[in-house]
Symmetry: C2
Subunit: 204 residues, 2 copies
């Protein structure tokens, strides 16, 4: 068995256990049992419990970034790119439910975590959005008044909140496609009714 196999086995087990119990409530022995290795074996591949979490992020988000960037290169329309990003982000919920839960819950875990660990991959992921916006502005498709640095966060936050809804709520009223579409339209067209439409008189 190659080293990488065991490393990966433990990572995948950690994803499951962290998703199920949360980082702090997860025991090393839980992860070991899930990975079918001895408790001590974990320490041959990771420095400590915390290190498992960090590695997990870097590895898994890294993979996702690659996939997304690859696919975005096949698209040219910024609107389509944004829509793809949203769809893809929300689809992670189906394809990698456990991972999505861990990213959801643990990424914004206790202060220490986020403050000490400048999670570069996460920032790289969000920056995909601002790159799309920038491009759209240069092409004249997107309004130049938009601050990409704010919009990228707003869009990610919105998608992220949608994820939370799904993870916590087992009775989603909308499909993923429908939701991604709604969110994208919200950000593209806004909520204001078309000005050319005659608006009824405002009462009260």
């Amino acid at each position: 068995m190659r080293v990488s196999d065991k490393h990966n086995k433990i990572t995948q087990a950690a994803v499951k256990v962290f998703a199920r119990k949360g980082f702090f409530n997860a025991r090393i022995s839980d992860i070991a049992k899930e990975a079918k290795v001895a408790d001590g074996t974990i320490y041959l591949y990771f420095n400590n419990k915390y290190d498992i979490l960090i590695s997990l992020f870097e590895d898994e988000i890294g993979k996702i970034i690659l996939q997304v960037k690859n696919h975005l290169e096949t698209l040219s329309d910024p609107q389509a790119k944004l829509m793809f990003f949203a769809q893809n982000h929300l689809h992670l919920l189906e394809d990698k439910k456990d991972l999505a839960e861990v990213l959801q819950m643990e990424l914004r875990q206790s202060n220490e975590f986020m403050k000490e660990y400048r999670n570069t991959k996460f920032i790289e992921y969000i920056n995909i959005i601002s790159a799309i916006i920038h491009e759209g502005q240069n092409l004249g498709v997107f309004n130049k008044d938009i601050a990409p640095g704010i919009a990228k966060r707003a869009i990610f936050g919105a998608l992220d909140e949608m994820s939370r809804l799904w993870i916590l709520d087992n009775d989603p009223q909308y499909t993923i496609e429908k939701t991604a579409e709604q969110v994208c339209n919200l950000f593209l067209k806004g909520m204001l009714a078309d000005q050319n439409t005659s608006s009824p008189p405002i009462s009260s």
Copy 2:
């Protein structure tokens, strides 16, 4: 000293400590020291550590909801209402930094927490947004295609992500007002450039 005083003293101490160390890393003795009471005293007012967190949410979010709803009644324009909500939410960061951090970090803590505890106050808070949207749609100001149930989450998520940015980043490039304005405009007008504006030819 009235009972409520000590209860409140402990709550306020817990807010500080949770904000500083996160729920799991916070020790009861930390909270006790901060509140200047004995460790055991805490158990005269709360059932356990977890109970402190829950009470804290209900109490503090409850207060905020009251304030927000009161002020919203003085406004009639849905756009203005939305703007107020956004401004107010982001201003919590200045006025109640510790509380904001706790809500930020701990509200979306481990699964068990969110799944078991149907935090009613939190839902009530978010529903303020959907009420505004609904009203706007009835008045013809907001597009009726918008699903308030999705939009409320998207808007909250966006604001929430902005909060995170501030909490983690000590060098914000934008003021709170500016950010609230950007986010609201994003949701009101969208990102698409005005159609009547002549758009340059698309290259590539």
